[in-house]
């Protein structure tokens, strides 16, 4: 691959020639504000925030779509560019509810962060806002289209990554909106990739609602308990309750999850959870008991069978859902503790 040399803000850099200016800048630690570009998705070029000046080019160009070229002299920050960016932010916010106080995405909203950075309140060009009466009735994803800034990331991720194409741009001009066919309720794979890439509060999890944002929220990086892919997830919890699950963009799964990984956690707080050891009485009914009693009862049965019929009259079934440590210890228990190789798990099922 050919390399090209160029300067960004006076800094000379050499990069592969198939990069865009934005990618080249990011690779060398130069941040350029943007809303519609997502690293995993093809560029869109709609938000116009990533504009830069190139020496010899009369108008500012979008760095997310412009490829690098040998000898380019690029400036990412000038007073003029900052004015332009403020202008665009003013316009975006003039068509945005700006109800950050109650918005699910406060604190994780890229639009909010840019508005904060640029000190833009959205008052300067106040005017009509898009309003929508209809709410999407699907059980997973809250779609608040009034907060949508039409960056197109959701459309792209649904097409390019998920291959579902449940949504697309509809209408045009100021009436543009992201829509399903015939504006029906969303009926897709509910992977929530769109939620993951949404830079605002337009797309959130219905499960998340009013559960907590960042104050007092603990984030734990762990692994999804569903299929064998082993996606990296981040569990957000507050007061010992899971309030949402996300995945960080720099994980090997690139922040992408499926419906189960993203929205499949509520079983944890199901009222059906077992909370005490149970022993079955003669009547056939279960009765709650203490750990000591349950363990002693179990151990006594194991001892009895082993003594009467030998260790191979006992068997153990371990679980592909338990950890390596637990599985290791389980078979060690069966082999060394009980004395049998009758131990298996459900790999084949």
């Amino acid at each position: 691959m050919a390399m090209v040399s160029l300067t960004i803000n006076g800094k000379k850099i050499t990069v592969p020639d198939d990069l865009t200016i934005l990618e080249a800048a990011n690779r060398h630690g130069i941040a350029i504000p943007n809303l519609c570009k997502h690293p995993q998705l093809t560029p869109f070029g709609g938000c116009r925030l990533c504009v830069v000046e190139i020496k010899g080019v009369p108008r500012p160009v979008a760095s997310c779509t412009t490829p690098v070229n040998e000898g380019m002299e690029i400036t990412t920050v000038t007073e003029q560019l900052e004015q332009h960016r403020k202008f665009v932010l003013e316009l975006i916010l003039s068509d945005h509810p700006n109800d950050c106080m109650t918005c699910e995405s406060t604190g994780s909203c890229q639009l909010q962060e840019l508005a904060y950075t640029y000190g833009v309140k959205g008052q300067e060009y106040a005017g009509e806002r898009r309003t929508y009466a209809k709410k999407d009735g699907n059980p997973f994803i809250e779609r608040d289209l009034e907060k949508c800034i039409l960056c197109g990331r959701c459309v792209k991720v649904c097409q390019e990554i998920q291959g579902v194409e449940a949504i697309d741009f509809g209408y045009r001009g100021f009436k543009s909106k992201i829509t399903t066919a015939y504006e029906d309720d969303l009926n897709c794979e509910f992977c929530g990739q769109c939620v993951h890439v949404c830079p605002t509060g337009a797309l959130t999890g219905k499960l998340w609602k009013r559960k907590g944002r960042y104050e007092g929220v603990k984030e734990t990086d762990t692994v999804c308990p569903y299929c064998g892919t082993g996606c990296n997830i981040t569990v957000h919890s507050k007061n010992n309750e899971i309030i949402r699950i996300t995945s960080r963009p720099w994980t090997w799964n690139e922040g992408f999850l499926c419906v189960k990984g993203r929205f499949g956690y509520p079983f944890v707080s199901s009222p059906d959870r077992l909370t005490k050891p149970l022993i079955k009485r003669k009547s056939g009914e279960f009765e709650e008991t203490t750990w000591t009693a349950a363990l002693e009862y179990t151990a006594s049965w194991f001892r009895k069978i082993r003594e009467e019929h030998g260790p191979d009259a006992l068997g153990g079934l371990s679980s592909a859902r338990c950890t390596n440590e637990e599985n290791y210890l389980f078979q060690k228990f069966m082999r060394a503790g009980i004395g049998t190789n009758n131990v298996d798990h459900c790999a084949r099922l």
């Binding site: 699907n138 308990p225 299929c227 892919t229 059906d272 179990t298 389980f330 228990f333 131990v343 798990h345």
Partner: protein, 535 residues
């Protein structure tokens, strides 16, 4: 998987056989779609027109249970057209000539008859796969859950060996594991014939090593597999069973038989997070912590060992499984004292060289794929880079066999089972997720439009599906996803459990049951039955 998930993106050809990747491994499917966007050609061989077909260059709608015929047939074409990797065959394999003779009569014409796949498509598939040196094969239970499951896997390996599509980036034989830690559970030797790290129990030197490590005399006799244990329990040879986090009543074939077997036990203890169908049959039920509530490691389908961390505390008096095993062991008189999961990890990492270089500290971030023998080693993104464990890879001659159960006048449909996107396994977790239940909470049997018309049933009608082993009442979903003569029932729904119907015939080598093929009949459900079984 011999290769990694990220590796998929660079493949030229992706051959998916017996895997509904888009629904059972959605995030792996994402990688395949990314590869597709970069120009990769995807071949899907499956009795059902699974969602990945949308992205496929070629779809081979094969009859269930005819994988070997298809794979051998593709091999035959590859040899016929000279697409095999001669250098690889010469340097790294053995038994090529004999194998070549064995597939001679798997001509496209014959294979087409056996599989139902058009002759030209078999040839095209062979050319696509054989013509690329960056081609990966992917499969799941659609391959393994057959009486000939082991042979299916070997037939796949033959193809990869034939083309040299193994041991390099963007290639490989890639089984996709179904559960979060199947790989780990296998690695950790929750299997009757091996110790951790696939070290055979019947080898004296291995036995000695573990006796030394564990300070206990160990049995040299291989034990029973899950299905064999169930049979043994049924025959009252097995008296006591300890089940940790499993629900065989729903997940094992021939449900009536399984329930009878568990009832025949003298003692059953089940350790789980819910009172599952299996736990209800137990004498003792021990409340466990779920995945979000404990520390440890999982090993995913690409052999990547990753850290699991506690996000919330387990409810009430539920304990994590590790603590339960430790406490139970103490009560049994074989104390195993570990203050943390990390110490357990260190113990088995010391017993299996493939994990020798791993520590919890090193697993921070993205984890490490085994083998990772030394502290300096960066893990193994793809296997067999430096050759094969036994020196040369053997070509294995595989004969085609019909499935254990074939259709008859009484049972004219082939039933195949599997998962859907939303639910997971026995459903003990996913069915307790309200939005998932709302969206995908009803059992269904998929039936081809033409069959539905013939039987005069409409979408949503309830029918009785019965096999030689049992029957379920279930709503029909009319679709062209299954071909005529085939039915599909997802395994998740206890109220219409697919495994009431399935056959517990086993693969002779690895004892895996034939979930993917059994013969059934369909009759319309009387109105009363519809009401009784409800939603």
């Amino acid at each position: 998987m011999t290769n990694s998930i990220a590796d998929i993106e660079g493949m030229e050809v992706i051959f998916i056989i017996g895997s509904n990747t888009k629904e059972t491994h959605p995030v792996i499917a994402n990688r395949m779609i990314k590869a597709y966007r970069k120009g990769a050609k995807i071949i899907v061989a499956d009795p059902r027109a699974v969602p990945m077909v949308k992205f496929s260059e070629l779809y081979l709608p094969m009859r269930p249970g005819t994988d070997i015929a298809l794979l051998n047939g593709m091999g035959q074409v590859i040899v016929q057209e000279g697409l095999q990797n001669d250098e690889f065959i010469r340097d790294k394999t053995e038994g090529f000539d004999a194998w070549k003779d064995s597939v001679r009569d798997f001509t496209p014409e014959r294979v087409s008859k056996l599989t139902g796949v058009p002759k030209d498509d078999i040839i095209r598939a062979a050319r696509l796969y054989g013509g690329s040196r960056k081609a990966g094969i992917f499969y799941t239970m659609g391959i393994t859950q057959h009486t000939c499951g082991t042979d299916n896997v070997k037939a796949i390996a033959n193809l990869a060996t034939l083309t040299g599509n193994i041991g390099r980036p963007h290639t490989g034989v890639n089984p996709l594991r179904g559960q979060n830690n199947v790989q780990g559970a296998s690695d950790m030797a929750c299997a009757p014939n091996v110790y951790p790290g696939y070290q055979r129990v019947d080898l004296p030197e291995v036995q000695q090593k573990f006796e030394q490590a564990w300070g206990k005399k160990l049995s040299p006799k291989p034990g029973l597999t899950t299905t064999e244990m169930i049979h043994a329990a049924h025959d009252k040879r097995l008296k006591g069973l300890y089940i940790m986090g499993e629900n065989p009543v729903l997940t094992d074939p021939n449900q009536h038989h399984t329930i009878e077997a568990l009832k025949n036990l003298e003692f059953l203890v089940v350790q789980d997070i819910f009172l599952t169908e299996t736990a209800k049959l137990a004498q003792v039920v021990l409340p466990a912590a779920c995945s979000y509530e404990k520390e440890g490691t999982y090993t995913n389908t690409e052999r990547r060992v990753q850290r699991v961390r506690r996000a919330v505390n387990a409810p009430g008096e539920a304990w994590d499984d590790l603590s339960i095993i430790i406490a139970l062991s103490r009560h049994l008189g074989y104390p195993m004292e570990y203050r943390s999961p990390e110490l357990v990890f260190n113990e088995f990492a010391g017993l299996w060289p493939a994990l020798g270089g791993m520590t919890y500290d090193r697993l921070k971030g993205r984890g490490l794929a085994w083998p990772c023998p030394t502290p300096e080693h960066h893990g193994t993104e793809y296997l067999y880079k430096d050759g094969f464990p036994k020196g040369k890879v053997p070509f294995v001659q595989i004969a085609f066999k019909e499935p254990a159960e074939v259709t008859s006048d009484d049972y004219p449909f082939i039933l195949t089972t599997g998962r859907n996107l939303y639910q997971y396994h026995s459903g003990s977790m996913s069915r307790r997720v309200p939005p998932i239940e709302k969206h995908a909470g009803r059992a269904y049997v998929e039936m081809n439009r033409s069959d539905a018309e013939r039987l005069s049933v409409a979408d949503g009608d309830r029918v009785i599906v019965s096999s030689r082993r049992g029957e379920v009442t279930i709503a029909v979903r009319v679709t062209n996803q299954v071909s005529a003569g085939t039915l599909f029932i997802p395994m998740h729904y206890a109220e219409a459990a697919a495994n009431v119907l399935t056959n517990d015939a086993l693969d002779p080598t690895v004892k895996i049951p034939e979930f993917k093929v059994c013969a059934v009949q369909v009759t319309s459900a009387p109105k009363a039955a519809s009401l009784a079984t409800g939603g």
